[in-house]
């Protein structure tokens, strides 16, 4: 079992008002699954992804990642999990604007102390994998939206994480570019990667093997495809 969520709750407190974003999520994910999370806006998809990605902590419940209990980890341990186990792809790319594509992809390896030469080689390989061999030295503002998202994907997979998380990775792209990005994910899945992505589009969700639908912070439906 790669991921095991038990009774995960997340409650935001805005002043005295309590906003429950997740209300008891139970979820198991096996290695090499390809999961799409769907649901109406505000149903808690991003909140769930952030918790799985160790960017956020649940208000209550247990989260086991590779048999390690993430809920009890301190900041440094969480940073190491984010670095080694998780590759995050954001809707808004979140690249460093002043750094080249290559340096952006090198970033996760900087934080685990990979020596410069190895770092560069692995970053180049990752960029080749997403078809950007000829754009390595471009800055994000010199790249199209689709190319930026490919850089972000290269960055997410460069440390060979256990799981790749993508929160609406095609949300800021036109449908043709979105399809190209989905092809990359499909390739990654075929190579054995575990992928969870959030989407609003049925045709994107159809790329996956399993669709989880959320409503009001709870799992409404969890079904396998094909």
């Amino acid at each position: 079992m790669l991921i095991k969520l038990e009774k995960i709750e997340k409650i935001y407190e805005i002043g005295t008002v309590q906003v429950p974003a997740l209300r008891g999520i139970n979820l198991n994910v096996e290695k090499n699954e390809y999961i799409a999370i769907m649901g109406p806006s505000g149903s808690g998809k991003s909140t769930l992804m952030n918790i799985i990605g160790c960017l956020d902590t649940p208000s209550s419940g247990d989260y086991l990642l590779n048999q390690h209990n993430v809920s009890t980890m301190d900041d440094d341990q969480l940073a190491e999990i984010r670095n080694r186990e998780i590759g995050f792809v954001f809707q808004t790319f979140n690249l460093l604007p002043r750094a080249s594509a290559l340096h952006n992809v090198e970033l996760p390896m900087i934080y685990n102390g990979t020596p410069a030469a190895g770092r560069r080689k692995m970053a180049e390989e990752a960029l080749e994998k997403v078809g950007l061999a000829d754009r390595m030295h471009h800055k994000p503002n010199e790249l199209s939206g689709g190319q930026r998202q490919r850089v972000a994907i290269a960055r997410a997979l460069v440390n060979r994480p256990s799981i790749i998380l993508a929160d609406e990775p095609t949300g800021n792209l036109d449908s043709r570019t979105g399809d190209e990005i989905m092809e990359i994910f499909e390739g990654l899945h075929e190579q054995g990667n575990t992928i969870i992505l959030v989407t609003h589009e049925e045709y994107i969700a159809e790329h996956s093997n399993r669709i989880i639908r959320l409503r009001d912070g709870m799992v409404e439906r969890d079904e396998s495809v094909h």
Partner: protein, 410 residues
């Protein structure tokens, strides 16, 4: 290894950030620049003064005292208090020599300034000292070539002169000055010795001088209204206090001062100058530390301010880095390195300016100014302490940011 990688990334980030905000960064460093410039310039000045003075003051000798009308350390209207004192006389010098037991040499000296000529060559404004044979001991005036005048020369008022090296060179060039005739203030003298070169001090050339027997001096240039200094050399530097006490007693006896009367002469010595000098440099140090500290604090606050702005502006960047696995300490160091880099720019500009000022001062004024290797060390200390001290608050603020909130920041 890891720490090197983080440091390098920190430097890279800081460099990018500083390049993106050039003007802002340079303005930020202004306080540091002013502080570093002030401190280093003043310290360089003190060092230069030390180099010049220590040789000059030690040339006075720790075992020599000077009986004079005025003390060396006077302030304000002291001069009016002392000017009615009787002048020191050559006779008094003779009595001192007769009566004292703790001294090895006593020499009265008088001074004036005259033109020296040899054939068509002249040297103007030469310092002329009239003294006795024991001046050789009290002033260490051992000639490099020739000899100093003897007690006999002095007793018989012989017209002989010992010249400073520069005077000899200007008058005689390469030829041998010994035995040659010179005219000092219209009187003829025979050169019997030339002193070694001493160089210049505070813009004052110490080699333009001539020494002649005191009797000869008085008959040539007049005996009245001249300030006589009695130079006294103690038997050893350890005995200087005793010598001072003995001389006070002797002078009071000579002048028949009753116990209730104040002494109407001064006994000066090197340590008096040293004390005054130390007071002066102490004041300079205080100014350096004061101005330096204030501008460095102002500069440091400027850096802190700019870093706080920078942390806010780059909240998303911090979020991204944390999402990719940067630990709190990585972010902390990133901003500390940036802080130290801003500081080092300021320190560098400050050092360059101080070097420039020191060069300018040395070139245009007699004040010496010396900047040496310690500048680099001082600079390093500034960078590390100010950078760390004022960077730590903004940096820890950045380090503590929650990753998801930082990523959501608009």
């Amino acid at each position: 290894m890891r720490i090197l990688i983080y440091m390098w990334e920190g430097i890279r980030i800081a460099y990018d950030a500083l390049r993106a905000y050039k003007m802002r960064s340079i303005l930020t460093t202004l306080g540091i620049v002013i502080g570093v410039t002030t401190v280093i310039t003043i310290v360089a000045l003190i060092q230069g003064l030390n180099q010049a003075f220590s040789s000059e003051i030690s040339a006075l000798g720790t075992d020599t005292v000077y009986i004079q009308k005025f003390p060396w350390t006077m302030q304000g209207d002291d001069w009016f208090k002392y000017r009615n004192r009787p002048n020191i006389t050559v006779d008094e010098a003779d009595r001192v020599k007769e009566l004292s037991r703790t001294v090895s040499a006593v020499a009265p000296t008088v001074e004036t300034s005259r033109t020296i000529k040899h054939r068509e060559k002249t040297v103007e404004r030469v310092s002329i000292t009239g003294t006795t044979a024991e001046y050789l001991t009290t002033a260490n005036a051992d000639p490099e070539i020739g000899r100093f005048f003897s007690a006999n020369d002095v007793a018989s008022n012989r017209p002989v002169a010992v010249l400073g090296s520069e005077v000899a060179e200007l008058l005689f060039g390469q030829s041998d000055p010994l035995g040659k005739r010179v005219t000092i203030g219209g009187r003829k003298f025979r050169v019997i010795g030339v002193l070694g070169k001493k160089g210049s001090f505070m813009g004052f050339n110490q080699d333009i001088l001539a020494i002649i027997p005191i009797g000869t001096f008085q008959s040539a240039f007049g005996a009245q209204r001249r300030w006589v200094t009695i130079e006294v050399k103690a038997k050893s530097p350890q005995l200087i206090e005793e010598t001072e006490d003995e001389l006070t007693g002797i002078m009071r006896r000579i002048r028949k001062l009753t116990p209730e009367k104040e002494s109407n002469f001064a006994i000066n010595k090197q340590s008096l100058l040293l004390d005054t000098y130390n007071q002066l440099t102490g004041t300079l140090w205080a100014v350096a530390i004061g101005v330096g500290a204030i501008s460095l604090i102002v500069g440091g606050i400027g850096i802190m301010n700019i870093l706080l702005v920078s942390v806010t502006e780059r909240t998303r960047e911090i979020g991204v880095r944390k999402a990719l696995g940067a630990r709190n300490s990585d972010i902390l160091w990133q901003f500390l390195v940036e802080s130290m880099m801003i500081c080092s720019i300021g320190v560098l500009i400050g050092i360059l300016m101080a070097v420039g000022i020191a060069k300018l001062v040395a070139a245009t004024t007699p004040l010496p100014a010396a900047i040496t290797w310690w500048v680099a060390f001082l600079g390093l200390v500034f960078v590390v302490t100010i950078g760390l001290f004022f960077g730590i608050y903004p940096a820890s603020k950045a380090a503590r940011l929650n990753p998801i909130e930082a990523l959501r920041y608009e």
